[in-house]
C-alpha cells in the first residue's frame, strides 16, 4: 500500500451506474449531433423520440446515481495528490453531476416550448412545464446545445485526467472505476 494507492474502490453499484450513464450519455449525445441536421422524415421523428426516451432514462439513472453517491462516499483520492488537483477534481465532478441533471431538464423544457411533448417510450407522457413558445424553444435549444458542448469538453478533461493518473501518476484512480479489474493487481 505504498506508491500513492488510495484505499478501497468504488462499490460495484457505483461502477455500474457510472458506466451505464457514461454509455447512455455518449449514445444520446452522438444521436443528438446526428439527428438535428436531418431533413424531416419518419426516420428523423423516430430518432428524436429515441433521443428523448434515452434522455429520460439517463436522467432516472442519474437520480439513482446521485442518491447512491450521497449515501456511499467515494474512496478518498490518493494521498500524494496535490491540493490544487483535488480542488480541480472535485469541481469537475460536481460540474459533471450538475450537467447530468441540467441537460435532460433543458431538453424536456425545450420539447415543451417547441410544442412536442415528451412521451417516454411512447407510453408515459411527461407534463409540459412550458407552453408552446417559439422564441423560448429556440433559446432552450441553444442552452441545451451549449451545455452539451460544455459537458463534452469536461468529459474529455475527465478522461484525460484518468489516463494521466494511470499512466503518469501510476495510481489506482482509473483502475478503481474499471469493472473486472482487481485493485491488488495495479501495483506497478
Amino acid at each position: 500500500m505504498t506508491n500513492g494507492l488510495s484505499q478501497g474502490r468504488y462499490t460495484a453499484t457505483a461502477v455500474t451506474l457510472h458506466w451505464l450513464v457514461a454509455l447512455g450519455i455518449f449514445g444520446a449525445f452522438s444521436l443528438g449531433l446526428y439527428m438535428h441536421e436531418l431533413p424531416l422524415s419518419p426516420t428523423k421523428l423516430k430518432l428524436y423520440s429515441y433521443h428523448k426516451w434515452a434522455g429520460v432514462t439517463i436522467f432516472l439513472f442519474v437520480l439513482i446515481r446521485l442518491a447512491w453517491r450521497a449515501t456511499h462516499p467515494p474512496p478518498p483520492l490518493p494521498a500524494a495528490m496535490p491540493a490544487w488537483q483535488r480542488t480541480v477534481a472535485h469541481a469537475l465532478h460536481h460540474l459533471l453531476y450538475l450537467l447530468m441533471v441540467a441537460i435532460p431538464i433543458t431538453g424536456w423544457l425545450m420539447s415543451s416550448a417547441k410544442g412536442f411533448q415528451t412521451v417516454w417510450f411512447g407510453l408515459v407522457p411527461l407534463p409540459d412545464l412550458l407552453d408552446k413558445n417559439k422564441e423560448l424553444g429556440d433559446t432552450l435549444a441553444l442552452v441545451h446545445k451549449t451545455l452539451n458542448l460544455t459537458m463534452a469538453a469536461l468529459v474529455i478533461s475527465h478522461v484525460a485526467a484518468a489516463v494521466k493518473h494511470h499512466v503518469f501518476d501510476r495510481d489506482d484512480v482509473l483502475a478503481r472505476m474499471l469493472p473486472f479489474l482487481d485493485n491488488n493487481k495495479v501495483t506497478r
Binding site: 431533413p39 424531416l40 422524415s41 419518419p42 421523428l45 423516430k46 428524436y48 423520440s49 417547441k114 410544442g115 412536442f116 411533448q117 415528451t118 412521451v119 411512447g122 407510453l123 407522457p125
Partner: protein, 186 residues
C-alpha cells in the same frame, strides 16, 4: 284580442326561427379549426388559419340545418416550421394541386340536450368521404358557438404518402377539432 295574440305569437315564432336559423358570417378571431395528429405516440396540434363557413341552424329544427366549409389549405400550421414546409408538399396535402378542402353537410340530427350530429361529405385532395361529427351548440350573448371533435383516417384521403404511408411514425387517426362562433342575424 285573440287575433292580435295569434299575430303576435306568429311574429315571435317567425322572429325566433329566423333569429336562430340565420347566422351571420363566422367570427374568425373566435373560431378555430384545429387537428391533432399522433407522432411516435406524441399528440401534436396544428390548425388551419383561413377557412370560410356558411351555416344556418335552428336548434328547434336541427334537421333543417346546413353547413358548408371551405378550407384554405395553404393556411396550415402543422406545429413547426419544418412540418409546415413538408405538409404542403405532394406527399401530404399537395396544396398546389388541391388548394381547397371542403365539407358539405347532408344531414343534421339531434342527440339530446344541446348535442347534435352533422353528417356530410369531406373532400381533401381528390378524395371525398362521408364523415359524421358530433357537436354542441351554446348561446353566448348574441353569438352562437358550435364546437365539436371527430376523427378521420388520413389514409382515407391519401394524406401522408411515400415514406409517411405507414402508421408507425404518424398515426392514421387524426382528430379534428372545430369551434365556430357566429352572430345570430337580427
Amino acid at each position: 284580442m285573440t287575433r292580435f295574440a295569434a299575430i303576435l305569437l306568429a311574429g315571435f315564432m317567425f322572429a325566433g326561427i329566423a333569429g336562430a336559423a340565420e347566422l351571420g358570417p363566422i367570427q374568425a378571431d373566435k373560431s378555430r379549426l384545429a387537428f391533432v395528429s399522433k407522432q411516435m405516440g406524441v399528440p401534436v396540434e396544428g390548425e388551419f388559419r383561413k377557412f370560410a363557413v356558411q351555416m344556418s341552424f335552428d336548434p328547434a329544427k336541427p334537421e333543417a340545418g346546413k353547413a358548408q366549409i371551405e378550407i384554405d389549405m395553404a393556411s396550415i400550421d402543422a406545429g413547426s416550421a419544418e412540418a409546415n414546409e413538408e405538409v404542403v408538399g405532394k406527399n401530404w396535402f399537395n396544396v398546389k394541386q388541391f388548394p381547397k378542402a371542403s365539407f358539405v353537410s347532408s344531414s343534421v340530427k339531434a342527440l339530446g340536450g344541446n348535442k347534435f350530429e352533422v353528417a356530410g361529405k369531406l373532400t381533401i385532395r381528390d378524395k371525398t368521404r362521408d364523415v359524421a361529427a358530433p357537436f354542441t351548440m351554446a348561446q353566448q350573448g348574441a353569438n352562437a358557438q358550435f364546437e365539436g371533435t371527430f376523427t378521420i383516417k388520413r389514409a382515407d384521403f391519401g394524406i401522408g404518402q411515400g415514406a409517411w404511408a405507414d402508421f408507425d411514425t404518424v398515426a392514421n387517426e387524426v382528430q379534428i377539432k372545430f369551434k365556430f362562433v357566429a352572430a345570430a342575424k337580427k
